[in-house]
């Protein structure tokens, strides 16, 4: 049944190269430089992935005889991996921007304390202080990260989806072999997440 579903999905994806190219054309007009680069290149890679996928389908159904399925399969996964890496880069970039924004909001909200109270804890000569300062900063950053993710469910879903998706080409290309069970679970999770974004369009990350 898995083979049947895979072949049928390849059939359904027959038009997706053109869609990905159109998406790349739209992405060229974004104002933000990093987003523009990431999304355009990622859509171009997706277009190449779909083109390789279409060729694989033609080979599997017998339209093209004597096709080196392994070679084309590897090619398609390489394009897919690169597209996912760029998507993740974009997610991390947006996360960074939002965290910066949130940190600035927090800084303006915190009421200014008298100077001696601010510097009192760090000036105490206790040897335990250096061990506490680093985790404190780390904890603050972590808290900031979790707050930003909690307030932006589309970004969180997209990040989770791309993280799950990336294990598939990593396993197939042999870069980081996990078992087929893990790959199946990751694929299932990312599919469920994308179904959720289709049912609730507000959960889709824009642009």
């Amino acid at each position: 049944m898995e083979a049947h579903m895979s072949l049928t999905r390849k059939l359904l994806r027959l038009g997706n190269s053109v869609e990905a190219l159109e998406a790349a054309k739209r992405a060229i007009h974004f104002s933000d430089g990093v987003l523009r680069l990431c999304l355009t290149v990622s859509h171009l890679n997706r277009a190449m992935y779909f083109a390789c996928d279409n060729i694989l389908w033609a080979g599997k159904t017998g339209l093209i005889s004597k096709l080196n399925q392994q070679k084309w399969s590897q090619r398609s996964f390489r394009y897919y991996l690169f597209a996912l890496v760029l998507h993740l880069t974009r997610d991390v970039y947006e996360l960074g921007l939002l965290m910066e924004c949130e940190a600035r909001n927090r800084a303006t909200k915190v009421s200014p304390l008298p100077v001696d109270q601010v510097y009192a804890p760090s000036s105490s000569p206790s040897p335990a202080v250096p061990n506490l300062v680093i985790p404190e900063q780390f904890r603050r950053q972590l808290h900031l990260l979790l707050t930003v993710l909690y307030n932006n469910p589309p970004l969180l879903l997209d990040l989770l989806k791309n993280s799950c998706d990336i294990f598939i080409p990593l396993d197939r290309l042999g870069i980081y072999s996990t078992g087929s069970g893990f790959v199946g679970a990751c694929g299932l999770t990312s599919s469920v997440l994308s179904i959720l974004t289709m049912i609730h369009p507000w959960l889709k990350l824009k642009p």
Binding site: L11, G15, T61, G62
Partner: protein, 245 residues
Amino acid sequence: MAALINFTNQSQGRDRIFRATQYACALSVYLLRNKERPDLVEKLKSLEVSMSTGRKLFRLGNTINSIEAAKRTMQLSDRVLCLCLTVANINRALYFACDNVLWARSVGLIRDINKERWSLNASRCYFLSIVMSLTRDVYIVSQLMVQKVRDKRFRQKMDQHLSESPEIAEPIIPQLDAFLFLLLESLRSQPAVALDTLKNICDLFIPLDKLGLYQSNAGVVGFCGLVSSVIGILTLAQPKLRITP
């Protein structure tokens, strides 16, 4: 439920293109049967089979779509339309249900079912749904014809048409000539109805052949399937050409 339907409708356009490809392959295989091109025929056959099995998978949710459509058509005010469309939709829902069972059998999920019997039942339901759709088309066309006959301007036009023919050829049965003129004018005024009637007539040949009621050959079935798929693509691309309700 609305979200599920919106979700599945996105693949409707692709399904129609694949159906057109499937029947084009069937027609081509029939046309090439006497020529010495076994490799091409083999490729076309395998493409047709892969399109057909792929489409069965896409149709997995269509039973629910058809039941929802039947619920909507039950609320139509015109009783004849209500009856025809509701029965057509219920039969389509049954056809899709049989189709899903056949898909499960072909994939290997279910093993002990009588494939021939289920295939026959699917064809019967499909046949009934097309007959009901054609009945609805005939009803709408007859209503249009009655409307036209009552229109004074159209009657003048028809009288003009009937009186100018004696110079060209004597009409053997003047009433038949008048009827045909009325029919063609009605169909021309409503292209959506004309297209739907043609589509249903073409579609009818497929189950007629499968059920053995009117054995045509694979070429006719392929050609009719192709024409009806192309009309389906046209009505999807141009919503004005889609019959309502």
